[in-house]
């Protein structure tokens, strides 16, 4: 599904990713763990196609296609989704209007017909209940005045609605208490599927108690320095990043 080879990427001329290699197959959930400044968010932005993140070497193939030449919106239409660490507040655009605009933009790019407002509302309602996203939230301006938990639930609702083939979850656990974390994790687990790959990016092992990964990769200074099964997350938690980085050196 996703094959990253020797990826180098820079922001403002500063190299952040320094030869990252990673392969995630369909149906798999991989976790990327790393300390602050290791390049976790840069990786998520590079995958989503954010302007200003320059790829200086290597390749990213998604379903065998070069991802790097596509704009962010084209990637979304092809099934790449990024659940963001800090979902943006947009006053003046209601959540439901946003969902309808995004869903139809993706459909149009794929040559599918628009869904009308009633149809979108029906689709959203069907997915919203499990994530405890209320009708009232849908009427409010996008993410404005939402709690940390509400923002993250809305990210997962979008993932459920857009049904991406590749979902990247950037620090989805940040700012969540344990109940909110469980709710979000249940939402993510419900979307695990043989056709879908997930990349779960996190600083802490806690999230991986609830979203159990098939593989764990440790990112440090822009490179994957170690990988293993789900038990690697526990080892990291016990030893700390400094020790793992030292062992790998």
């Amino acid at each position: 599904m996703l094959e990253i080879k020797d990826l180098h990427a820079a922001v403002d001329g500063k190299e952040i990713l320094k030869g990252l290699t990673l392969r995630v197959g369909a149906g798999e959930v991989h976790a990327i763990m790393g300390p602050n400044g290791s390049g976790k968010s840069t990786l998520s932005y590079v995958l989503a196609g954010r302007a200003g993140y320059e790829i200086t070497g290597g390749s990213i193939a998604y379903k065998g296609e070069d991802l790097t030449s596509l704009s962010a919106d084209a990637r979304a239409a092809k099934g790449v989704f990024l659940a963001m660490q800090y979902p943006v507040e947009i006053p003046g655009v209601t959540t439901l209007t946003f969902l309808k605009t995004a869903l139809n933009a993706q459909r149009r790019a794929r040559g599918e017909k628009d869904i009308d407002a009633v149809g979108v509302l029906r689709l959203v309602r069907a997915k919203a209940a499990a994530l405890k996203v209320s009708e009232e939230m849908l009427k409010r301006a996008l993410n404005v005045g939402f709690s940390g938990g509400e923002k993250k639930r809305l990210e997962i609702l979008q993932m459920a609605l857009f049904e991406p083939a590749l979902a990247v979850l950037d620090e989805t656990d940040s700012g969540l208490d344990i109940d909110a974390l469980k709710l979000v994790a249940d939402g993510v687990n419900a979307l695990r599927s043989p056709d879908r790959a997930m990349l779960v990016i996190t600083h802490y092992q806690r999230l991986l108690d609830y979203i159990v990964p098939d593989r764990v990769h440790v990112l440090s200074a822009g490179r994957i320095i170690k990988e293993g099964g789900k038990e690697l997350a526990l080892e990291l938690e016990a030893k700390g990043y400094a020790q793992i980085v030292k062992d790998a050196a």
């Binding site: 989503a48 196609g49 954010r50 302007a51 200003g52 704009s71 962010a72 919106d73 990637r75 979304a76 239409a77 990024l82 963001m84 979902p87 943006v88 947009i90 006053p91 003046g92 655009v93 946003f98 605009t101 995004a102 869903l103 933009a105 993706q106 790019a109 979008q158 857009f162």
Partner: protein, 339 residues
């Protein structure tokens, strides 16, 4: 000797009329012409009487008053309700007087369709407990248009106004508002959607007596070499205690050649007043743009969505659903040209 205001005058710093129009065009301009596009309810429409009320105006309005031979006179009698849509169909110097008597209410729409030069002075008199809702729509024209409104609001009266300005070679809207009776209110809003054009809104709201209230919300989107200007002065007179005034002006710059100047100003000579003002100019937020694009929304559509959202609260101050919808259509059309 050229009598037109120019950029060395503080009030006209950002709108150099002397440079924008030839003095001979101004001197020889005819009397402007209006047409009544629609009128409903209890509104009387006539030509201006020889003696008409006049409030404080700017220099150009004084010229319009001196030169305009006639103009429309609208009156809503005590307790009546009416709606009028005026078109300015021919440029020149123009005058209009609109009188809303005690307890009456009027919805006034104005659309500017005039020629290369227009200079209009309008008197608006809002009587005791009367209400005036005023929406002015100035489509883009490669022209010089000056409009100056003197608004007097009596006890318990409410003036609500919205100015949608798509700019021109030079577009200047002046509002001189006097809240003259206790409980009088003025609520002003406006948007400027400028694609390489100029639009200037200059307001002066005077809280003359206690317990008066004013709000202002003006927003500009400027692309190309556009110039958007808001100069807003609020004066609270001696003794006008308990006055409440809020002023907000915001601008969105779409390019390096565009310029937006926002200048809110307060002059408070009373006690126990609530006065707040804020102004901010910024670029389109790149985090928001990326967020929308990452959800599959193409860049042009995402930019239009963000601009629409930016202008939203100002346009939505128009309470009348039909008029609001019409203004939105014009705004959206103008935004398309900016993306």
């Amino acid at each position: 000797m050229n009598a037109l205001p120019h950029r060395k005058l503080e009030d006209w710093k950002y709108s150099d009329l002397r440079n924008a129009v030839d003095e001979s065009v101004v001197a020889s301009a005819p009397t402007a012409a209006w047409s009544v596009a629609s009128a409903h309810g209890g509104v009387e429409i006539d030509d201006l009487p020889t003696i008409a009320p006049r409030g404080p105006h700017g220099v150009m309005a004084e010229m319009a008053i001196a030169k305009a031979k006639t103009g429309p006179y609208l009156r809503v009698a005590k307790g009546d309700t009416g709606a009028v849509h005026l078109h300015l169909t021919e440029g020149g110097h123009g005058r209009a007087v609109i009188l809303i008597e005690e307890g009456a209410s009027l919805t006034l729409q104005e659309t500017v369709l005039a020629g290369e030069f227009a200079n209009i002075a309008v008197e608006l008199v809002v009587g005791r407990n009367a209400q005036l809702t005023h929406v002015r729509n100035a489509p883009y024209r490669d022209a010089v248009q000056v409009a100056d409104y003197a608004v007097r609001v009596a006890e318990g009266g409410i003036y609500r106004a919205h100015f949608a300005d798509f700019g021109g070679k030079l577009s200047r809207t002046e509002l001189h508002i006097a809240l003259e009776g206790e409980g009088a209110q003025a609520h002003l809003s406006g948007v400027g959607v400028l694609n390489g054009a100029h639009a200037d809104v200059t307001t002066h709201v005077t809280h003359a007596v206690p317990d008066t209230q004013s709000t202002q919300l003006f927003k500009y989107v400027a692309g190309g070499h556009a110039r958007g200007i808001y100069q807003g002065k609020v004066s609270v007179a001696v003794g006008a205690d308990g006055s409440d005034s809020r002023q907000t002006a915001k601008g969105l710059l779409l390019g390096e050649r565009a310029e937006i100047d926002l200048k809110p100003e307060l002059e408070i000579l009373a006690d126990d007043v609530k006065c707040a003002h804020g102004a901010a100019v910024g670029d389109l937020d790149i985090d928001s743009l990326f967020y929308l694009m990452s959800r599959g929304i193409p860049e042009a559509e995402a930019r239009a969505l963000l601009m629409r959202a930016f202008l939203g609260d100002a346009v939505d101050r128009i309470a009348d659903e039909g008029i609001r919808g019409a203004v939105w259509l014009d705004v959206e059309k103008a935004l398309e040209g900016l993306t």
